[in-house]
Amino acid sequence: MFVRFSQIILICFLIFSNAESAESGGMPQLNPEFWFSQIFWLIITFGIMFILLSKFILPKISENLESRKAEILENIEAAEKQREESDKKLKEYEKIILETKIEAKNYFNKAREKILKDVDKKRENLEKEINDEISNVEKEILDLKNKSPEKIRKIAIETSSDLIKQLIGVEVNNSSISAIVEDVSRKTN
C-alpha cells in the first residue's frame, strides 16, 4: 500500500516539478557544484559519529542492558530462594504444630487414664470397706441371732421360775422348768 502511495506522490511530484523547473532551472540535486563537498562532509560527520558511537556509547548501552538483565535475574533468583526458604519454614511450622497437637493429646490421654485409674482404685477400696463392714455387721447379726434363743430360754426359765415361786411359793428345779420351756417353745415354733 505504501509503495503505491509513494508512486502517486512521485507522479504528482513529476507533474509539479516540470512546472516549477521552468522557473528555477532544474533540480538542485543534479547540480554537481557541491557534490564533493557533500561527500566530504558526509564522510567526516558520519565517520566521527560512527566511531564515537561504536567505541564509547554503544558498548556502554549494551553494558547497561546486560547489567540490568543480570540484576533482574539475580533478584528473581534471590526471590525464588526466599520463597523456597519460606516454604520450608512453613512446613517446619506445620510439623511443629502437628507434633504439639499429638503431644497435647498424649498428655490428655495420660491424665485421663490416671484419673480413671485413681477413681477405680478409690472405688474399689470403698467397695471393699463397705463389703467388710457389711460382712462384719452380718456376722454380728448372725451371732446375735444365734445367741438369742438361748438367752430367751434362760430368761424364760428364770422368769418362769420366779413366777412360779411367787405364785405358789415352791422352788422348782431348774431343769424341769427348762424342759417345759423347751416343750412350749417347740410347740410355738
Binding site: 505504501f2 509513494s6 506522490i9 512521485l10 504528482c12 511530484f13 509539479f16 516539478s17 516549477e20 523547473s21 528555477s24 532544474g26 533540480m27 538542485p28 540535486q29 543534479l30 547540480n31 557544484e33 557541491f34 557534490w35 564533493f36 563537498s37 557533500q38 561527500i39 566530504f40 562532509w41 558526509l42 564522510i43 560527520t45 558520519f46 566521527i48 559519529m49 560512527f50 564515537l52 558511537l53 561504536s54 564509547f56 556509547i57 554503544l58 556502554k60 548501552i61 549494551s62 553494558e63 547497561n64 542492558l65 547489567s67 540490568r68 540484576e71
Partner: protein, 239 residues
C-alpha cells in the same frame, strides 16, 4: 525547488580543484550527528536499574535495532551492529531534522544517499567475498532452476545485484524529495487560493506533515533493514 538548494556557509575551502566548502547540507549533517551523539551519550551516561526517559529512549533504540538485525541477518551480523545502528540513526535524524520548517533535508540529495548506498554495496560485496571466496558468486545462481533458464536467470540476478545501490539510494532520496515538494506545493496553494479557498490545501498540508514524519521514520527503517538483508545475503549464502 529552493528548499533543496545547497549554498556555501562561511569561507570557500578548496583542495586543489575540488570545492569542499562548508554548506548548509554540511551544517545539517553536523547537527544530526551531534544530536545523535548527545542523545545517546546522555542515554548511556547513568546506569540506573529503572531507566529515566532519555536512557529508556537510548535503550529502546538499541534493542529495536539489535532485534531488527538479529531477525533479518541472524546472529552472524553482530559485528556490524554499530554500523547499522549509526546508519539508521543518521538517516533518521537527517530525515527528522528535514521536517523542521526552513531546515535542509540532507537525505533529499541523491549524492548523499548514493554515497551511503554505494558504501554499503561495496562493503557487503567485500564481506561476501571474504566470507565465501568465489563461492559468493553462487548468489547469482539460484538452486532448482532449469539449466535452460540458467543464463537468463544469472543475468537477471547480476543486474538486480548491481542495481541495489541505485534502488537503495533512489528510494530514500525520491521519498524525501517528493514529500518535501508536495508540502511545498500545497503550501503554495494555500497562498494562491487565499483566505477563501486556502483551507483545503492547508488541511492537506497538516495531514502531509504527519505523513511525512511517518515516511521519515519508515525510510530510515527501510534503509537500515535493506542493509541488513544485503548483509544477510553476504553472511549466510542461501542460494
Amino acid at each position: 525547488m529552493y528548499q533543496f538548494n545547497v549554498y556555501r556557509i562561511g569561507p570557500e575551502i578548496k583542495l586543489g580543484e575540488v570545492d569542499l566548502s562548508f554548506t548548509n547540507a554540511s551544517l545539517f549533517m553536523v547537527i544530526s550527528s551531534l544530536a545523535v551523539l548527545i542523545i545517546f551519550n546522555l542515554g548511556s551516561k547513568k546506569n540506573s536499574l529503572i531507566p529515566n526517559k532519555i536512557q529508556l529512549l537510548a535503550e529502546l533504540s538499541y534493542t529495536f535495532v539489535s532485534k531488527m538485525i538479529n531477525d533479518t541477518a541472524g546472529s552472524k551480523a553482530k559485528p556490524y551492529f554499530s554500523f547499522i545502528f549509526s546508519l539508521f540513526m543518521f538517516v533518521l535524524f537527517c530525515n527528522m531534522f528535514g521536517m523542521i520548517p526552513y531546515a535542509f533535508t540532507v537525505t533529499s540529495h541523491i549524492i548523499v544517499t548514493f554515497v551511503l548506498a554505494a558504501f554499503i554495496f561495496f562493503g557487503v560485496t567485500i564481506i561476501g567475498f571474504i566470507k565465501h571466496g568465489f563461492g559468493y558468486l553462487k548468489l547469482f545462481v539460484p538452486s532448482g532452476v532449469p539449466v535452460v533458464l540458467l543464463p537468463l536467470i544469472v543475468v537477471i540476478e547480476v543486474i538486480s545485484y548491481l542495481s541495489r545501490p541505485v534502488s537503495l539510494s533512489v528510494r530514500l532520496f525520491a521519498n524525501m524529495m517528493a514529500g518535501h515538494t508536495m508540502m511545498k506545493v500545497f503550501g503554495g496553494f494555500v497562498i494562491s487560493l487565499g483566505i477563501v479557498g486556502g483551507w483545503l490545501p492547508l488541511g492537506f498540508s497538516v495531514a502531509l506533515t504527519g505523513l511525512e514524519i511517518l515516511v521519515a521514520f519508515l525510510q530510515a527503517y527501510v534503509f537500515a533493514i535493506l542493509t541488513c538483508i544485503y548483509l544477510n545475503d553476504a553472511l549466510n549464502l542461501h542460494h
